[in-house]
Each structure stands twice: as structure tokens, then as C-alpha cells.
Amino acid sequence: MKEGFRQSMSWLHTWGGLLLGWVLFFVFLTGTVGYVEAELDRWMRPEKPLVAAEVAQADALALGVAYLERTMPQAKRWLVGPPGGREQPELRYFAEAPAKPDGARGKRINGYLDRQTGEKAEYRDTGGGRLLYRMHYQLHYLPRIAGEWIVGFCTMVMFAALVTGVIIHARIFKDFFTFRPGAGHRNWLDAHNLLGVLSLPFHLMITYSGLMFLCYVYMAPVIAAEYGWSKKEGRVFVEEMFLGGADTVPGPAGVAAPLTPLAPLLAEVQHRWGPESIRFVDIRNPGDANAVIIVRNARHMPSRDEGRLVFNGVTGGLIDDGGARANPAPQVLSATLLGLHEGLFAGPVLRWLYFLAGLMGTAMIGSGLILWTKKRRARLEGRFGFALVERLNLATVCGLPVGTAAYLWANRLLPVDLGSRAAWEADALFLAWAAMAVHAGLRPAARAWVEQCGIAAAAFGLIPLVNALTTDRHLGASLAAGQWDLAAVDLTCLVFGLGFLAVAWRIHRRDRGAVADREMPSTTIQEAAE
């Protein structure tokens, strides 16, 4: 019976993985790239100063609040994020106007400020890394809800694929270090297995925690069964969730009251948390008697709930310092899972490890897709379904990375004053991807792989050059100024370019018979494991 169970799980793993593998590849790749959104954001706004001026957070915050006082004195919410650390390298603002009389949400504004003058900073209009991160869970060109549900569905299948993958991997310990480079599809099987097993804790964590982000949407019926099915009743759940940390801020009283001066408040915060540790200051109902000031600190711990101080906005007195609150265990677990997924607490070294794990996951999916065709070539070659899968594999595994590179190319090449520039950059990603898909459809399969890897090599490898030709934030400048975050983008693109070049070269030589490559007859997973 064990054999039957393994075989049926194998079927589920193979077909679930194949049919959704292309979408999952997109999700994993945009997630991995989106993880470094801060670095990409900076690279994609070359107007930012090369070396950021050192400005005390308190001063930057004062400038930010002053700007918002001038720009939106009547507001429901002001939010200022001072520069501090990699996650928040710029002085950012966000504000929301009070709700309109008809109940519609008030106007929202956000942007960057020059940290020394407090004036609005003009950078080129770009989605930056943040747009890629958003595509990771919302896809693109789709209504947000549709994208989120599709990604949620695919994540559930990913979860099943991971677990079934472990179940069917008969020799998971024996094969732990096994990689047999060489002919046939065994090296692809080994690669797929290794990429999965060696970072299995990461994959399981990232998948399960991914589901957690929208779990209240996906599992709304569970909440409804306990709290009731109406929207109002559902909100009670949210209130109870935050009861410990009352994010429930009262609405405006309608009575004007001057906002308490920030300086002593920030001094108190810095006294508790240490200098330069503020992530943002969130002012609700500014200028009103019910003003509340929430301060959050930079993330050091995986859990998302840490580090929050709430002050009365008129008197400046501390309302809540999070100390008395003991978060219930499931909330801590949930917040930790989300924090682990976002990985924002990670320092430089750990960030690279996260990035590597993301790449491994992406490659695990890609290698799985390719493995499917390798194993079935002898049996299915010539059939339409097989050809379709092969072309889709190529278009995705090579085409999407090229699209990502095209996004960066567009950032540099599109005119700065072009209207809807950010949207055009995203379009460039998908246009390039579509072009690669067309190429994959038209060219003979073997040649197409070499050509697309070559295109990918050029697309990535030339980015530092394009950068140097269009801006003065090129590698020479960033390395000379010791701006490693900036240089890392160019250098990583260079490494990817070289990687694709090596792959293209290897396939090319193999096709010309320089390296003997016998295609193994297709086998079942059991035979491969024998």
C-alpha cells in the first residue's frame, strides 16, 4: 500500500507542480526580487544623492511633519518615516485626508522629502522594487482581489507539492548530498531534489507563512462561523485581535487642539529604544482633540508586533508601551510567521542567505518544470501537449528573468518626464516576457534554449553598462563611495549575466556534440531512485 500511496502522491506532485509551476515560478521570482525592494528602489531612483547626508532622525521627522502641516493640515492621518537603515533609506511621508461626506476614503498622498530641506524630492516616477514585490502577491493587470486569490490558490498547491515532494523522495537522507552532473535527466532530478531538500525549512516556512498573509480572507468562513457573517460582526474579530495592542484609534472629536511638540516625545522614544531606531511616526487625527501618536521601531525581531509606543497627541503622555500587553500565543505565532516571511529583521549577511534561499526555491520550481520534459521526451516528443509544455518552460524559466532585466533597462532608458512612467516600466517587463514567449514558440526547441540563455546573459550582463551610459550612479561611482547596496544591484546582474552565459555555452557545446549527452529513456521516479 505504501507504494500505491507514494505513486498517487507522485501524480499529485507532478501534475500540481506542472500546471501551476509557471505561475509559481513568477511568484517565487518576484518574491525573491521583491525581497530586495529597498536596494532596487534606490537603484531605480538615480536622482537620489549618492551618499546620503547624515541627518538625525528627530530633525528629519520634524521636517516631515512640517511639510505635512503645510500640505495637508486637515488630515485623518499623517505618517512620516525618517531615514534609518536599509529598510527605510529615505525620508518618506504619507497622509490621508478625512473621509468624504459620502463616506468615500479621503485623498491619499505619499512621496519622498529631501532630508535636509524638507522639500519634496523629485525622483523619476518608477514603481521601483516595491512594484515587483506587489506583483508577488497581486500579480499584475488583474484586479487586486483576483490576483490575491489566484496566488493564494497556487500557494496551497505549492504547499501540497512540497509535502508530496518529501513523501515521494524515497531516499531523502541517502541522497542528501548527491549530485551527479552529467548526461540524461538524473542531474536535473538531483538538482530539483537538492534545491528542495537543502532549504526545505525555508520553503515550508515561506509557503505556509505566505498563506497567513491573507488567511482572514481565505478562511473568512471560519471567522464567520464564530463571530457572525455580517461585515460588522467580522470587524469584532479584528478589534479583539488588536485589543491587547489597541490599534483601534478613536475617530476625530471635531474639537481643534494643537498637536503636542514632537521633540520631547521623540527624546522619550530614543531614551527607551536607543538613538536612530524609529521606523515611522504615525499621527492620527492631527490637530484634533483625539490626536494619537504611534511610534514603531526598526525591526530587530522576527515577530511583526514588537516595538510600539502610543502617545496622546495633545498632551504627549504615554498611553501604551506594549509592556503590559501579553500577546496571546496564536497571535505571536502568526506575527512571527509573517515576520519570518518578510525577512525584514535580517541584517546584511542574513539578507543574502534569504535571497539565496529564494533563488533556490525559484530554481527548484524551474528545474521541476524542466525535469518533467526531460523524463518524458522519448515517450511524448512530437505531441502537441509536450511541445506546449516545453515552450512554456522556456518562456518562463528564461523569459521571465529577461522581463525582470527589461524592467531595469526601461527604468534607465525611458524618458524621465514620460507620463505614467512607472506603468510603462511594468509594461516593459511583460512585453519583453511576451517577446521571449513568441521567440520560444517560433524557434526550434534546442536552438531556442541557447538563444534565450544568450539573450538573458546580455540582458543582465549589460545592465551595469546601461547604467553607466545613462546615469552617474554606475559601478565606478558606487564602489568608490563605498555604497555597497547600490553596487550590489549592478554586481548581482553581472553575476546573473555570466551565469546565463555559462549555461548558454554549455548547451551550445552539448548540441554540437562536444560533450556526449545520451538522453536517458524516461523512467518513473521509482526507477530513478533505484
Binding site: 541517502k174 542528501f176 548530498f177 548527491t178 549530485f179 551527479r180 552532473p181 552529467g182 537538492l194 537543502l198 532549504s199 525549512p201 525555508f202 530587530h300 525581531m301 522576527p302 519570518l340 529583521f345 535580517a346 541584517g347 549577511v349 542574513l350 542567505l353 534569504y354 539565496l356 534561499a357 533556490m360
Partner: protein, 94 residues
């Protein structure tokens, strides 16, 4: 400390790998005896624990545990590549 954690983990995986006959065969060594296997695996386990200790020493226990998984991954990957692509005197057994 990070580098130490990496090398401890790498050593641990190496010990685990050479408790397996297939990797010993690749190196041209004799088969492992049960006693050797026990010693190697225990040593490997201890070295992994030491690696966790080193991670915690650098990052603290909560972040360090997360980092430990990453260190284990990258050191295992390094070992796999070293085993697969090392220069060898005899052809890879099929």
C-alpha cells in the same frame, strides 16, 4: 563568528556525508563500519549544534536560529558542489 558558524556546519555535513558509503566510494575509501558511522554522525550532530551556538553568539538566539538554517543550507550546498565537481582520479561510478 559567522564564518565560524559556516565552517562548523560545513564540517558537520562533511562528517555526515562520509558516514555514507556512496560518498566514501567516490573518494576511494573502504566501506564505513557501524562504529565509524555512529561516531561520524554524532560528531556531525555536535558540530551542527556548535554551529547554532556560533550563530546565536553573533545574532542572538531568536534571529540566530533563523540564520542557522541559512548557514546549514549554504554549507550543505558548498559540500554538494565540492563533492560533485572535485577533480577526481577515477571516473564517477554510474
Amino acid at each position: 563568528m559567522i564564518v565560524l558558524a559556516f565552517f562548523l556546519s560545513f564540517a558537520a555535513w562533511t562528517a555526515m556525508a562520509f558516514a555514507m558509503n556512496r560518498h566514501r566510494r567516490d573518494m576511494g575509501w573502504v566501506r564505513v563500519t557501524p562504529a565509524q558511522r555512529t561516531v561520524l554522525r554524532t560528531a556531525g550532530g555536535c558540530l551542527l549544534a556548535a554551529s547554532l551556538w556560533a550563530c546565536a553568539g553573533h545574532w542572538g538566539w531568536s534571529v540566530g536560529t533563523v540564520a542557522w538554517f541559512g548557514v546549514m543550507t549554504i554549507s550543505a550546498l558548498a559540500l554538494v558542489l565540492a563533492l560533485a565537481f572535485r577533480p577526481r582520479a577515477r571516473p564517477l561510478p554510474d
